[in-house]
Amino acid sequence: MISESLIALINALIIMTIIGLILYSTYLYVVSRRGLRPSGEKLKVYACGEDYPAEKASVSHFNLYWGAVRRVFRSSYLYIRDKMHTGILNDWYFYMTVMVLSLIIILGVTFFIR
């Protein structure tokens, strides 16, 4: 069964890669054929007419992901932060033990149900 699944995965990945490369080669061909090299204003970051320095244009990836998590689960995040962030080592040890035990119970239940 595992070999069957592995063959299916490999087949899917072969199709994905070959089609991806065909489309990517088409892009490279089209771009190289035109031979146009944009310059000047076209290369600046678009900011509705405002002057926008290049170094300000990016944001750290960590903030991008973490901001999204905080936005979606804002109330849960604040609740957990206030309750769990006590600064006492024993609290941390307790929470970690609960988490590991929960994981073991979930795995055990999944195994026996199967």
Partner: protein, 332 residues
């Protein structure tokens, strides 16, 4: 062996591979543009080709041969590479459906399907992040926020028919997209199947609206508010690829819903005229549902969209997967 390779190449390049997907995505774009225009008292595409059928191809080619502008802070080649791989993943997903001459099938292949459906989404996130700009960053951040709420539900909508079939029939391969596509529609007849599939179908349409960034969930690109959001810096060939990937996603996810929930050409055979007509009709109805919601609604704010998903879609999705999982226990 040689015959297998020939079938594999045909599956990859012709049907349901690259050629079929390109034609289907252009036709789908024409169809939804026409529908959307009529719903807004416009005529839609009409000048190129009969009834404007060739307009999407003309638009694609026009963009493809335009100047390729990449800002000094953006990555030039990787954007196109990830968009191409996203399209490739969608096409690989089509090869898992029963209409493929060389269907990719195995037990638990639903995990492969889930992996492939995440590729276009991740490609779009990366594309947004690779052209840094105040608007693309806002758009990408919004898309990531939405993604965290709707992607688990998308997995649930794929799992509902698969789990239901695996729990009801003793078939091989189990937990497979292939088997589920052939058998799931028969479960509409039982009350439990009707409930699970009905809730799953409604959830899948709602989640698809979100996944495809159609109104009222077009918050990441929010025209007139944050210029073009994630795609503000894109023009020319890369914009052509972004639009193409969007249309390919509509085709692939639409066909996935048609097969998993509505049985594809069932009760007819796909190789018969009624089968083909019914298959096209079911697909057209799924796209019609998406476009009707798009035309009838206005854009949500980001927190409104999340509340809608958390309040309505998640309970429906959880209920459908629970019913599907407990189906044998309830039936016995």
């Amino acid at each position: 062996m040689n015959e297998e390779i020939i079938y594999f190449v045909i599956t990859m390049l012709v049907f349901p591979g690259l050629l079929f997907t390109l034609i289907a995505s252009f036709l789908t774009q024409w169809y939804y543009r026409k529908l959307y225009a009529h719903m807004q008292n416009r005529v839609g595409p009409r000048f190129i080709g009969p009834f404007g059928l060739l307009q999407p191809i003309a638009d694609f080619l026009k963009l493809l041969f335009k100047e390729d502008i990449t800002t000094i802070v953006a990555r030039r080649r990787e954007q196109a590479l990830f968009l191409s791989l996203g399209a490739g993943a969608c096409i690989a997903l089509l090869a898992m459906l029963p209409f493929s001459p060389y269907p990719i099938k195995a037990s638990y292949d639903v995990i492969i399907a889930l992996y492939l459906t995440y590729w276009p989404t991740i490609a779009l996130v990366l594309v947004g992040m690779m052209a840094p700009n105040p608007f693309t960053i806002i758009g990408t951040s919004r898309f990531l926020s939405l993604l965290l709420t709707y992607e688990p539900l998308w997995a649930v909508t794929l799992l509902v028919p698969v789990v239901l079939v695996a729990r009801t029939y003793a078939t091989s391969p189990i937990y497979s997209i292939y088997t589920s596509s052939l058998l799931a529609w028969t479960l509409w007849r039982s009350p439990i199947g009707f409930l699970a599939l009905g809730l799953g179908l409604i959830t899948s349409i709602l989640v698809l609206q979100c996944k495809l960034m159609l109104k009222p969930f077009d918050i990441p690109e929010a025209e007139t508010e944050i210029v073009a959001g994630m795609f503000t810096e894109y023009s020319g060939p890369k914009l052509a690829y972004i639009i193409l990937l969007h249309d390919i996603e509509i085709v692939v996810y639409g066909l996935l819903i048609v097969y998993l929930y509505l049985g594809g050409p069932a009760p007819f055979d796909l190789l018969s005229i009624p089968g083909v007509l019914l298959f096209i009709l079911k697909y057209a109805i799924v796209v019609l549902c998406l476009i009707m919601i798009k035309a009838a609604t206005a854009r949500f704010r980001i927190e409104q969209a999340m509340i809608v998903i958390l309040k309505y879609a998640i309970p429906m999705g959880v209920a459908s997967i629970l019913i599907a999982s407990l189906a044998p226990i309830i039936l016995w």
